[in-house]
């Protein structure tokens, strides 16, 4: 439905978006994820029509939209700052776009009532934006951008200002609304958990380039680069040289440490530098040496207690730290492992990911 074709955007000599191509499909909940300044808002602004690409095409439903002004696009945006009209009531804010279409009065009020119900704002219809809470304001902004039933809804860090609890609630609300309305959503966020929760597909961006576009689980379990692995979730990355051993690779990564074995479909030449990423929840921690692949000995130097899980930082003899996570299934204040314990960590050959770059 949306197609970015070799889009480049420059501000002066600064390249904000670098020769980027991307397809977003109908009814998709698509998340743009990346660090601050990587060009997420710029992408959105190009979709909404506030910014024109310096090079390349943007198509919406097969038609080039580069020259279509924002007020003529079937695209609505929910602004990072909400941008509610302070002089208009909640009701009039939501009706604003409909009135511009010249819709009949009774149709407008029906539509606004529907939006108010959807976002559970019925009680606040006659209030002004400064008379409602931050969370309610955010819902007004959402209702306003949904009211015109756009083909495409852009959400620029819609939940940035909310506290964790309200944020999670709203995330599910958003997903619910997306399902009910069948609108294509593109959401910008730099909160990776948020992207993983709401989106059906996630694009990880860095400095104007797409690093990977895939489903949340693919991004998490099969990142295609160190950057993506490191950006999404918690990970330990080791560097070494891999050698093919049957259907597995053996990674020599440090003197005095056993090689790491990994299954991988990747083609890596002998002697090439490559990387190995292992997530803490896949690492087991033991008092006694287990019989398995990838067994390493170390000392607990740090413990992060999060209530449901504990993260152990285990330092190996060569100084490398490996993180291991344990669920605290037993209700006890006595931890199974404590500082300076000598422990063994291990994981199977399928748990880690071998990365070429």
């Amino acid at each position: 439905m949306i197609r970015f074709e070799n889009v480049t955007k420059r501000f002066g000599s600064f390249v904000a978006i670098d020769n980027l191509s991307l397809d977003i499909y109908e009814r998709e909940f698509f998340a743009l994820l990346g660090p601050s300044g990587c060009g997420k808002t710029t992408m959105m602004r190009m979709l909404a029509g506030f910014e024109n690409p310096s090079e390349g095409n943007i198509e919406l439903d097969g038609a080039d939209i580069v020259d279509v002004p924002p007020n003529k696009r079937a695209v609505n945006m929910m602004f990072q700052s909400y941008a509610l009209f302070p002089h208009l009531s909640v009701h009039d804010n939501i009706a604003f776009g409909l009135k511009r279409e010249g819709m009949a009065k009774d149709k407008i009020s029906a539509r606004v009532a529907e939006m108010l119900r959807l976002t559970r704002l019925e009680k606040f219809a006659s209030r002004k934006p400064h008379q409602i809470s931050g969370g309610q304001r955010q819902r007004v902004a959402l209702a306003r951008s949904l009211a015109k039933a756009p083909k495409l809804l852009l959400l620029d860090e819609p939940l940035g200002a909310l506290d964790k609890k309200l944020r999670e609630e709203t995330q599910f609300e958003l997903m619910d609304i997306q399902e009910k309305t069948g609108t294509t959503f593109v959401i910008v966020t730099h909160d990776q958990e948020e992207a993983m929760t709401v989106a059906s597909r996630v694009a990880v961006m860095d400095a104007g380039v797409l690093k990977q576009v895939a489903t949340p689980s693919q991004i998490y379990e099969n990142p295609n680069s160190r950057y993506v692995a490191d950006f999404i979730g918690d990970v330990t990355i080791l560097e070494g040289r891999a050698r093919k051993e049957g259907n597995r690779y053996e990674l020599a990564w440090a003197d005095g440490q056993p090689p790491i074995v990994a299954q991988s479909a990747l083609e890596i030449g002998p002697g090439d530098t490559c990387y190995y990423a292992i997530r803490p929840e896949k690492v087991e921690i033991h008092h006694d040496k287990p019989e398995d692949d990838n067994v390493l000995q170390g000392k607990v130097i740090d413990i992060g207690y999060l209530g449901n899980i504990s993260t152990y930082h285990v330092q190996l003899a060569n100084g490398q730290t490996i993180r291991a996570q344990n669920f605290n299934t037993e209700r006890s204040t006595q931890q199974a492992f404590t500082w300076d314990d000598t422990v063994w960590v291990n994981w199977t050959d399928r748990c880690g990911i071998l990365l070429a770059n």
Binding site: A48, G49, F50, P69, M77, A83
Partner: protein
């Protein structure tokens, strides 16, 4: 205690510089003319004690106010002042709004300079600036010379000593009072609101009328009052630039005081003017208060 002092200072200020002079003027307005010094009776004679005060009060009356209603000159002057003040406020708004708008949209680093330029005229005497308009608007003035030279008119236009000259003078003098409050509103307008309006289907022009203008309204209202209130009692501009047909209450007031030396009637005129002004002043205060609340 400290609070009390903080309140006391402005109240004393008001008392000494506004209320007391007002009461004096009010007292004079209740007196009668006399060929004396000061030119009115009765005089308060405190040496007579209480009976002196009673005698004094007994002689005060509202005669002068009744007189104001009998001579059509006065209410015509009030009406004409209201009309001139209203028209020139509107003209000032027409000229000032686009200037404020342009300033608010100018590049960030230009704005302090532009603000400076708006305030700059205050650095020369108001009188000199009004006099120089006489040089510009007169039949031999620069404006007519220019128009003649361009061939737009064949005989000099009579602008000076008409209401037009008064309007020009007022718009010129009070323009900064209009521009500054509007500018300060427009300056803090969030650009994202205009983008949101456009995103929801507004053209640039309708976004202006539906978003920019309503949001600058407190500034417009403040600016209009700041122009309207002093213009209503304006004296210098109509007497220097206006003609004999320009009827403004400030001029009448001056003539009563200095030509007729009828202080009591002049004082009555002043008191009525003040009462007329109280309405817009209260409205102005309300507007400011509402705005402050909206921003809180």
């Amino acid at each position: 205690m400290r609070r009390a002092i903080v309140y006391l200072i402005p109240f004393t200020w008001l008392l000494v510089l506004f209320l007391v002079p007002f009461l004096i003027v009010f007292k004079i307005s209740l007196s009668d003319v006399a060929l004396a010094r000061p030119p009115y009776t009765p005089q308060l004679d405190l040496s007579q004690g209480l009976s002196g005060i009673l005698d004094f009060v007994r002689e005060l009356d509202f005669e002068n106010f009744i007189f104001l209603t009998t001579d059509s000159l006065y209410w015509k002057a009030y009406l004409s002042s209201l009309k001139i003040a209203a028209v020139s406020t509107f003209l000032t708004l027409l000229v000032g709004y686009p200037m404020a708008y342009a300033m608010a949209r100018a590049r960030e680093d230009w704005r302090p300079t532009l603000l400076m330029l708006i305030i700059l005229p205050f650095w020369t005497s108001f009188l000199i600036r009004v006099y120089s308009w006489m040089g510009i608007l007169g039949t031999e003035g620069y404006l007519n010379q220019l128009l003649l030279w361009l061939g737009i008119v064949s005989t000099p236009l009579q602008i000076l000593n008409t209401n037009w000259a008064v309007y020009i003078g007022i718009v010129y003098t009070y323009l900064p009072f209009m521009i500054l409050p509007i500018y300060s509103q427009l300056d803090r307008l969030d650009g994202a609101l205009l983008e949101a309006a456009e995103d929801l289907g507004c053209s640039r022009a309708s976004a202006f009328w539906l978003v920019t203008f309503p949001l600058s309204r407190p500034g417009v209202i403040a600016g209009c009052f700041l122009v309207f209130i002093p213009t209503l009692g304006e004296f210098v501009i109509p007497s220097l630039l206006g003609g004999s047909s320009t009827l403004m209450i400030g001029k009448v007031l001056w003539e009563e005081f200095f030509s007729n030396r009828d202080w009591p009637v002049a004082s009555a005129v002043a008191v009525v003017l003040l009462i007329i002004l109280i309405i817009p002043i209260i409205l102005f205060q309300k507007n400011q208060q509402k705005q402050a609340e909206a921003e809180a």
